[in-house]
Subunit: 240 residues, 2 copies
């Protein structure tokens, strides 16, 4: 057992005081079921409520803002973020030293997940979901046929399919595991764009026809195309 | 086209200056391939190099620390974190209003992924991987037989299996999709502990025997047990 004064100086083990206060404010958001655009109590109120100084509250709020839990609006106050706690690149892939191996490993996971997602999408999509998939597919084609980079919209196309599953988690996982597309997009010289268009059309058609088997198969072929593309890129990099 | 002075005031659209500087420091870490425990240039050097004030550098470093990219050691300097950019609960699941639906949806994803992970583990595990799986399995049993909460070690058991796949991404995804276990652990009154022990033993044995089919089947049964457990909990909550 620790002496009481040790507790005072090291509550929650090695977390700093602002870190502990951030944790408590986060719990307050959860307990009070605050959501997007809800306003947090101001600095004075939080300081009084949590029995800490205003400076500590300010640092804690900064921590939560850095993690996209809250948004600080100057002169207006602090508000809950649209997607609290969601961050870009949440697994820190950008910092991996071996980006090629990462790309291959991501593709392995995609190959396992995305055909299943497509099949599930074909089963559960609402008419509104299908409108969105069709729209997203057209936007990718628009980019491709205009010679623009299509990778952002490509990811959105895959997310629109994930949304058809009605599963809360799948649309959040897709952008994480699609990271590889963004990574290698700049390298591949768009050699396989016509395949991308054909694949996307086949996937869209199968999902819109509520045909799970066809959707699964079309997505498997798309993953296979991605694999060929990635291997071509790795070969190219190996030569240079 | 914007006038030049507008560019100066709003580089990178609406990102704040500390945010932009954080992005540049992050890029510096990536470009110079800095890894765990590598030291960043000090505040003066970064300020000079990035043509910004020291206060801005300090705020930027705080942002990166909040996101677990760097660790600030008082009096020693700023260092790259062990797992840069990886955060707890990276998809913000704690803030989801409907935690029950989240738990069901997570289980759906686990049921798709984990049997495949177990099969792949059985195929690719090294002797060292297998030692770790056995050890992790025993540690869960130790918790269970001592009446302690076993959920942290349960997650570690599943991660040890994920590591057998030699895939960089899978061990990172597992703790995210296992979130439900932590969530409902406190509720279930440990009714199915003997099933957990039996399931884990079967999974461990199959992976150690390098038997992918048996490993897949054992994990499928474990997921099925989790589903029954979750349904019992939801029923219990519905009653209360």
């Amino acid at each position: 057992m620790n002496a009481p004064f040790e507790f005072e100086n090291a509550i929650g083990n090695d977390a700093s005081l602002p870190e502990q206060v951030a944790e408590r404010i986060s719990q307050l958001i959860i307990d009070q079921r605050l959501t997007y655009q809800d306003k947090l109590p101001n600095e004075f109120e939080l300081a009084a409520q949590l029995h800490v100084g205003r400076g500590t509250v300010r640092e804690a709020i900064k921590l939560l803002a850095a993690r996209n839990v809250v948004v600080i609006k100057r002169g207006k106050g602090t508000f809950v973020a649209r997607h609290p706690g969601e961050v870009d690149d949440p697994l820190g892939f950008a910092y991996y030293p071996d980006q090629m191996r990462l790309a291959m490993d991501l593709l392995e996971v995609r190959t396992r997940l995305e055909p299943w997602v497509a099949a599930s999408a074909a089963r559960r999509a609402t008419p509104e979901n299908l409108d969105r998939v069709r729209e997203a597919s057209l936007l990718v084609e628009e980019d491709i046929f205009s010679g623009r980079d299509h990778l952002k919209r490509d990811t959105e196309f895959h997310i629109s399919i994930a949304q058809c599953t009605q599963n809360l988690v799948v649309p959040k996982l897709i952008p994480i595991i699609i990271y590889s597309v963004e990574l290698f997009g700049s390298l591949n010289g768009n050699v396989l764009l016509s395949e991308t268009v054909a694949d996307h059309r086949a996937i869209t058609a199968a999902i819109c026809a509520h045909d799970p088997k066809a959707a699964e198969k079309a997505m498997e072929e798309h993953m296979e195309q991605n694999r060929r593309e990635l291997e071509a890129i790795l070969k190219e990099l190996g030569r240079s």
